[in-house]
Symmetry: C3
Subunit: 215 residues, 3 copies
């Protein structure tokens, strides 16, 4: 399916906003850890591009768009610069970090599924690739930042589930030829909202059967 | 070399059993760490697909087969579901985890070398790629699960050596045109057996010269 | 731009010396951690090839040259063997490790940018890919070796900046058609020298505004 030009513009906007959101989450974690400005910039870029680069490599679209379309670099570096000069004190960064991360998560699960669809993948593979794009950047951020990936942590609210639902919704919309700027944005907002609600109301996934809380 | 249809079926079976074995090892580590069901499923998939995805990306066979052939996903998710409802208590998971890991290791060193050979690589590169496929999934599991990769740990029995021997045996068999369902299975069983014997009899590789045990 | 044959020989020499330098840094870290000879060899290879493999995958040059050109494997394994039998005691490895790492950093930022240029990327993407190649091997080493990537650490002298400058210089030289064996070597030496000076004089990048030293 060729996306119309309006959809392409919307896709680009979602991608760049998602990059800024993830870059902010990476930069905030770096500030929290006391990294210097170079470390902040590198972690912002790795988080902002990481999921999309994984997606592009898995799709064979190399070099990844983050290396050739310099708007991505500009957005990530500018975001890092903003965070360097203006950021909450470390004790208060948990909420902004989670908020930026939720926006990146919701936007990338949609754009990842769209790009996979454009490369000819079916609905289920496109959903998987959307999920990978969405959780990839955060996993790279957490591994580089020296903490367990939040997608896996047991003390965490549901994270992969909103991304999976957003990607699946996008794939179904594409399959039914109902994907438009509006429905795509709604899918992203749904995923973002679900993640924020999960954070607000502490929705957690169950553990394995018979496993009490502590080890 | 084109593999006969029988070989292709055998290849698929070895791949899917290896995926189940590594997925089980990832899920068991996740249970041990107290992750929730989403974390267990993600770690099962990352461990089950990780080595094969690395292999496919390195060979340029993208999107990786794990994204397009949904049997891999089904096997990994089903394995995770089984582990969620039925698993040994954490103090007892060490042995099943090592056993599942050994099976995945032995199967993937063979299938990795076979796939590299089918893509036209020579015996030495095919051996290296078989080794990468075999140890990749476990390395991804350990990094995501927050422990040093067992392939590197100094308190560990030999791990990479059985995979290297299994992959090299497969490459030699392919080179000599002696690779069949039977010889391939024997190569995998040899690697699995060697790893299990190493665990049983605590075979360890020597350290660097002049390094006593503690640092 | 086709590089002349002399340039190609110089490129190969820089690549292999860089591989040896990074392999030595990986092997020294492994010795320091008390890994066995297999772990030392695996970490030497992962560090020696890691950045170049990332570069090749991102450029779509697969299988990566490290898998097909066996000189890379020979160099990394030989370097690991040397470190196994002859290495400073752990308390003294910090300096050799940093020195080997600086050489790998300086050489790979140049060769990474050159290869990206040969694949048709513009100056800015070629700079980014040179940076990725240079810092990639060390990041893989540090993640596998269980420490925070030195490129990010706040207690570290500037690391990414010399690589960025070396890669950018190379890209400008290529753009101006001034890249030769001599100018390329000078760019590499400049990056190496800058990193060593940064280590010697403790040049550090500033932190984010308003962040005192400790958290």
């Amino acid at each position: 399916m060729d996306l119309s030009q309006a959809s392409q513009v919307a896709y680009d906007v979602l991608e760049l906003v998602g990059t800024a959101a993830f870059a902010a989450s990476g930069a905030l974690l770096a500030v929290r850890r006391g990294y210097d400005v170079v470390g902040i910039t590198v972690l912002a870029c790795a988080t902002g591009f990481g999921g999309g680069m994984a997606r592009d490599v898995l799709l064979g679209d190399v070099p990844p768009v983050a290396f050739t379309d310099l708007r991505y670099l500009a957005v990530a570096v500018a975001t890092a610069a903003v965070i360097v000069v203006w950021h909450p004190p470390p004790v208060l960064t948990r909420y902004p970090l989670n908020f930026a991360d939720a926006i990146g998560l919701g936007l990338f699960c949609v754009t990842g599924a769209v790009k996979a669809w454009q490369f000819g993948l079916g609905p289920v593979p496109a959903t998987l690739l959307g999920l990978t794009t969405a959780i990839g950047g955060g996993m790279i951020r957490d591994i580089l930042g020296g903490r367990s990936p939040s997608v896996l942590r047991d003390d965490e609210e549901i994270y992969a589930v909103p991304a999976l639902l957003g990607a699946a919704t996008t794939a179904v919309l594409l399959y039914l030829d109902l994907f438009t700027v509006v429905t795509g944005t709604l899918a992203a907002l749904g995923a973002i909202g679900l993640r924020l609600l999960a954070l607000r109301f502490r929705w957690r996934a169950p553990r394995a059967r018979g496993r009490p809380s502590a080890e």
